[in-house]
Subunit: 120 residues, 4 copies
């Protein structure tokens, strides 16, 4: 027998964390970025996503080495931001439940995952 | 004492559902939309988000009455898509756990929430 | 001696056409897309951009062959929309001046250009 | 009699300037923004758009007074970036033709226009 239930606090916290990752990725993917503009973009992404409800900390690293490697093979001096150039950690605190989440490349794809759930 | 634990299947399913909502909203918010183009935009949003992993069903309603009310007070014949003009249902199935989620306006804000979690 | 002058009608028409291309690309780049969802996305892009002022015609082709080639080498069954998968024609008519513009790949980059200006 | 002609350098420069405005608006509209995060967002927008070809200068002002006025009437402490909160100047130099362009609110809409074309 299956049952439908309301979400637990921890489940709602994980939903909130997922919203932040989808927001971050699809708001900023496609932004023109170069090694010189990577730092200001990373800071703006962190501060913009930290505005969202229940979001206590966002850490964004734009991978300048990866940018430089891509541009070395290219006629252009900038590219579009995509998951290949990003590592992101997001911490959400929802009604006392802290969820730690991370995005990094895995097998060629930007994988978003829940690292830990505290105090379920 | 607090403890950090790995997410349950249901928590991971809720995280996945949140990603879909953040993606949907921040990919498509800002799109020029009118009553005449609302239907094609709703279909494209549904089909694009259904491409994402674990996403079994997306239903998007672009609220044409709300668009028409906004445009009636306006010199323009189109506006930008935002939460005020959207109602969205997303169903995620992650490792056998089905999560039903919804976005609609509440107190003037587009509220995203988990409606139910099945088979935890 | 240099002189600053107001734009001609044709220059303003070309500015308007550029706005449509920047809008189209940066609104929709990053959208999850697969061969099955390409047609609905192309139609939604056309109808959304045609809402913009002075925009008389938008034709979007999502290159399904290119999508299929990319996905053949991939573990995923969808990807993110980017210029490699797009060919776009936009016609703007501004105060009687018709500008025909196009985006297609050239030397590995999505090149946007003015094809013709009529009736300067 | 109508004639189709290739664009002049000045027309191509205006097309390039329009691309930058459409890019700027549709890449960043929808970004969560508050008075505290306005400065980092403005800097990131400037540096990202300045990466684009022929773009010599971008000046972005996020209107903190307008943000504060909107939030004063609101239960939220942030909002989504939209034209109401932006004033932008973009200078493009294309093959020696300098085009100065601006976006600001006019009659309730974010109006993008060419201010001057130099050295046609």
């Amino acid at each position: 027998m299956t049952t439908d239930t309301d979400p637990t606090v921890a489940e709602a916290a994980c939903f909130e964390a997922g919203i932040k990752f989808g927001t971050l990725y699809h708001q900023f993917a496609g932004t023109p970025v170069s090694p010189d503009s990577a730092a200001s973009l990373a800071q703006a992404i962190e501060e913009s996503i930290e505005n969202q409800p229940h979001c206590t900390d966002v850490t964004v690293e734009v991978l300048v080495d990866e940018l430089e490697a891509e541009l070395a093979d290219s006629a252009a001096d900038y590219t579009e931001l995509t998951g290949r150039f990003l590592e992101v950690d997001i911490v959400v605190d929802y009604e006392g439940c802290e969820v730690v989440t991370r995005m990094e490349m895995e097998d060629g794809y930007p994988l978003m995952r829940v690292e830990s759930v505290r105090d379920r």
